[in-house]
């Protein structure tokens, strides 16, 4: 069994060796005056999978954009202690003219990794997400779930220490989404990255995470934090337990409270 940290995260301590992402009092105001985030304190430690749930338009995605460096927070400090960051977008964002393997190689290619190395990396990542046999397919020949797997594989080639997910499975059907949740958990256990996952599905949040953070509507602030006690690797059957249902209920409750 892989050693998986199940320790509950300490309440906002100072940056420790295990902290990969540390936001302190982060606020984000866009040039048009919209305040997307306010007073956000958030840490993601190694071994943690943190999920942020909130109503649409609450600035959840902005958190990721700040973490990845696509945006700069207008207030507060946003520290990220790694440069191996994976980013999975809402859409698979594959290049339609590239085959699966060429798409998976893209990021390594852009970073200047040499051909043979990145090919090996791509092959490994394709195997990991279960796309072996589809290397030569074009995106348009794939289902939505397979496109998302390709997108995951593409980020995996970077060996991310911190993996950012922006509602990646939101557009998929329920069955595909659950399958991909299981795959993602398997990868989390196997690859030991830390995850910051955005979703608006409460059950997805509880199932995937070690910690669930609830955000209120605009301007987005954190209105609740829940530690998820279920051990990793996670048994898909926990979704049908009373404890799971109760936690989903509590999170949903917090979500409703924060959404006025």
């Amino acid at each position: 069994m892989l050693p998986v940290s199940t320790t509950a995260p300490a309440p906002t301590t100072t940056t420790t060796a295990g902290t990969l992402l540390d936001f302190t009092d982060v606020a984000m105001q866009f040039p048009n005056g919209t305040i997307a985030l306010q007073h956000v304190d958030l840490t993601v430690n190694r071994g943690e999978f943190v999920t942020v749930v909130g109503p649409s338009g609450c600035g959840k995605s902005t958190l990721l954009r700040i973490a990845s460096g696509l945006e700069v927070a207008s207030e507060g400090s946003a520290e990220v202690d790694t440069n191996r960051i994976g980013y999975v977008f809402q859409d698979a964002t594959l290049l339609p003219w590239r085959t699966v393997e060429d798409n998976v190689e893209l990021l390594a290619e852009l970073s200047g990794v040499k051909k043979s190395t990145r090919q090996a990396k791509a092959r490994e990542a394709i195997d990991l997400v279960g796309l072996a046999g589809f290397e030569k397919n074009l995106p348009k020949q794939l289902s939505g779930g397979m496109r998302m797997r390709t997108s995951l594989a593409r980020s995996l080639t970077l060996d991310p220490e911190l993996f950012l997910f922006d509602e990646p499975f939101g557009a998929l059907d329920e069955i595909t989404r659950e399958r991909l949740n299981d795959e993602l958990l398997r990868l989390f256990v196997e690859k030991q990255f830390a995850g910051l996952f955005i979703t608006h599905s409460v059950s997805e949040a509880v199932y995937l995470s070690t910690k669930v953070i609830v955000m209120s509507g605009r301007p987005g602030t954190i209105v609740g934090t829940f530690d998820v006690p279920f051990p990793m690797p996670r048994d898909p059957e926990i979704r049908f337990t009373a404890e799971f249902a109760q936690l989903v209920g509590e999170v949903s409750h917090a979500l409703r409270e924060g959404h006025h």
Partner: protein, 295 residues
């Protein structure tokens, strides 16, 4: 109705019969649709030729100026059965004109592609460049080329160079506009994906924007190809020096009241445009057809 096999119950048999009927009906439908795909265009073509004959008949018998609208068979005859004694024969003049116009059109098109793509790439690099340069593309598109042509002749000589310049001016806009549209069609997330890996302008241009723009570039090219033929013919009308193209032939035939000859030259020019359109459509499908539904 064949005797039903022992293993089938009557219900199954009737389902099988219904299914067979449905399949047959579907096949009939498909065959019908396929036939319509071929037959209808031919019917339309025949109707058009018929209308042409009616018009020709009218101008021949009623107006009595048959050279204005010659009969279709006369046009074919002037190409394929030239009158003896005429030297060089009309069909060989037509072939020479066709080759010369093709040369002008392709040269102009090549120059237009280079200018158009460079222009669009520049504009795609920054909003201020786009705002500074796009108006001139629109102005170019609105220039009355016909009125300008004599001036171009005086400036650059009444021969090949001026023909090419007119061709470039006529075919440039669709290339600029379509290429720019294509370069800007890249969605934000894809751009950010590149940004996150620290990709520079050049990498983003060559690995993301240009491949993404190829379908629109080919659509622009197809339109521009047709226009380049028009450009070559228009150039001929004004610049009579140098080797004559189809435009010169059209003019000469018209002046000599050679109706069939003029029509033959005009139709040849048309067919050249259509051929160019088809050629670039085919090249487009070859280049991007695998991943883009290029129709």
């Amino acid at each position: 109705m064949a005797q039903s096999p022992m293993s089938m119950t009557s219900g199954e048999v009737s389902i099988a019969v219904v299914r067979a009927r449905t399949v047959r009906a579907a096949e009939r439908g498909r065959r019908g649709a396929k036939a319509a795909l071929w037959i209808l265009p031919i019917v339309v073509f025949i109707i058009l030729i018929g209308l042409w004959y009616l018009a020709a008949l009218y101008y021949d018998k009623v107006v009595q100026l048959s050279f204005l609208v010659p009969y279709p068979h006369q046009v074919l005859a002037v190409v394929f059965f030239p009158k003896a004694g005429l030297s060089p024969s009309f069909s060989s003049q037509l072939l020479d004109g066709l080759l010369n116009s093709t040369e002008v059109a392709l040269t102009g098109l090549a120059v237009a592609i280079v200018i158009g793509v460079v222009w669009a790439v520049l504009m795609s690099q920054a909003k201020w460049i786009e705002r500074s340069l796009y108006p001139y593309a629109v102005i170019l598109q609105c220039l009355p080329i016909l009125a300008l042509a004599p001036l171009i002749g005086s400036l650059f000589g009444f021969n090949f160079l001026s023909r090419v310049i007119v061709t470039v001016m006529i075919s440039l806009f669709p290339l600029v506009a379509n290429t720019l549209f294509g370069l800007q069609s890249v969605d934000r997330a894809q751009r950010e994906l590149f940004q996150l890996q620290g990709a520079g302008r050049w990498t983003t241009l060559t690995k993301l924007q240009v491949p993404a723009a190829l379908p629109s570039i080919f659509i622009g090219l197809r339109t521009a190809a047709g226009l380049s033929v028009i450009g070559a013919i228009v150039g001929d009308q004004f610049f009579q020096r140098g080797t004559p193209g189809l435009g010169v032939l059209i003019q000469v035939a018209t002046l000599r009241l050679n109706g069939p000859g003029a029509y033959a030259a005009i139709l040849t020019a048309c067919l050249l445009g259509v051929a160019a359109f088809l050629l670039f459509g085919w090249l487009g499908r070859l280049a991007v057809g695998k991943w883009y539904d290029f129709s």
